[in-house]
Assembly symmetry: C2
DNA sequence: CTTCCACTGCACACAGGTGTACAGCGAGAC
DNA sequence: GTCTCGCTGTACACCTGTGTGCAGTGGAAG
């Protein structure tokens, strides 16, 4: 990692700050405009356009970040040789803060940018379907829906809870984990046991 | 019901047609404008404003319709003396087409009209919580979440599925029913049995 | 010290949606 | 037949957000 010039570094800092602030702001107000984002980042609107030529560029970059973080978690979890239901618990535990941070994408998924977001989410969908498929093959997950659909519904619920009133505190994470386990066909006793075994 | 004058009747017809068309159109395109709604209803934009002074009025009327239909179904189901899980199946079966028709509200719930919609949905939330509470008291529903929250999550899932790709055909209704039953803590075998017993 | 350049601060053009005003028209009401 | 009034058609004013243009400023780079 070569020492960047001070100028290049502060430019990256500005860019990152805009992204971070945009994510937080859009999380509370999905229809916030570029002006509001700029103001929240302590920058002029024009500057935002210097980094992201259009609003779509900003959203795409945010989505790419989300995909990167989620695939990283999923890849690690998938690599473990734990039972699928235990892996799922591990996955949700680590996905939770990410899902909460990027909860905007749930709202943005419909509407103008839906196409773009859906496209970028492809890899995540696949890894997720693999995990659920593994669980179904192992007999720990229900089979009333094909893996591709069951996985969508299950993590849809996780995102939905991360975007709801329960998102604060430990309650949300616990609720999301148990709920998703149940709908994956894991018996209640086993589900409760799995979440209380967590460190 | 006194025989309405022909004029009054056609005025009501126009109003109803606008509502029906708006519901269908917004279902596919939640951000459709008043102009598009008017065109789809075979009417001029100005006429829509004659019936609904503002877009909010239209949305509110739509929401009131949804609440009326849902409370009607819920009241009937709640009146039966069946076990809570069977009542839930009956409820979802009858709610399904309604949820699909009014899927717009899911998208509109966030954003400008969220406040209004959420307020009008109060009665539905209560009836729903009562049903879930009954199931928890009877030991057929899980208790990892209080009834008020569990009911929200459960019918949130139903609406989410009604708003997804699976909404078409019998698959969606079946998936929504089983998924919600599972997350309510009903064992998989029982859940499957309940849905296949349906006429 | 001079050059570079990220950021500022204001300007503008443009698109799209909302809600209103007003002069009709045509079919049902009287 | 005349009146009423729901609907038409067109025009407006207004607001909000997007994306662009350009002169200027201040601090790091050379």
């Amino acid at each position: 990692m070569p020492a960047k010039s001070s100028r290049a570094r502060s430019m990256i800092e500005t860019r990152d700050r805009i992204l971070d602030v945009a994510l937080a702001l859009l999380g509370e107000k999905p229809d916030a405009g570029m002006g509001e984002i700029a103001a929240a980042a302590g920058v002029v609107r024009r500057t935002v356009y210097d980094h992201f030529p259009s609003r779509l560029d900003l959203v795409r970059t945010l989505t790419e970040r989300a995909v990167a973080e989620m695939t990283a978690v999923l890849a690690e979890v998938n690599a473990s040789d734990a039972e699928a239901d235990a892996a799922w618990v591990e996955f949700i535990a680590r996905l939770w803060p990410v899902a909460h941070r990027y909860r905007v994408l749930l709202a943005l998924r419909r509407g103008e940018y839906g196409e773009t977001i859906h496209g970028l989410l492809g890899p995540v969908d696949e890894l997720l379907a693999d995990l659920v498929q593994r669980g179904q093959d192992g007999g720990v997950f229900a089979q009333y829906l094909p893996a591709a659909l069951l996985s969508q519904v299950a993590y849809g619920v996780v995102f939905a809870i991360a975007d709801s009133d329960l998102s604060q505190g430990t309650l949300g994470a616990r609720a999301a984990t148990i709920t998703s386990l149940l709908m994956l066909g894991v018996p209640e006793t086993r589900a409760i046991a799995l979440v209380t075994d967590q460190p």
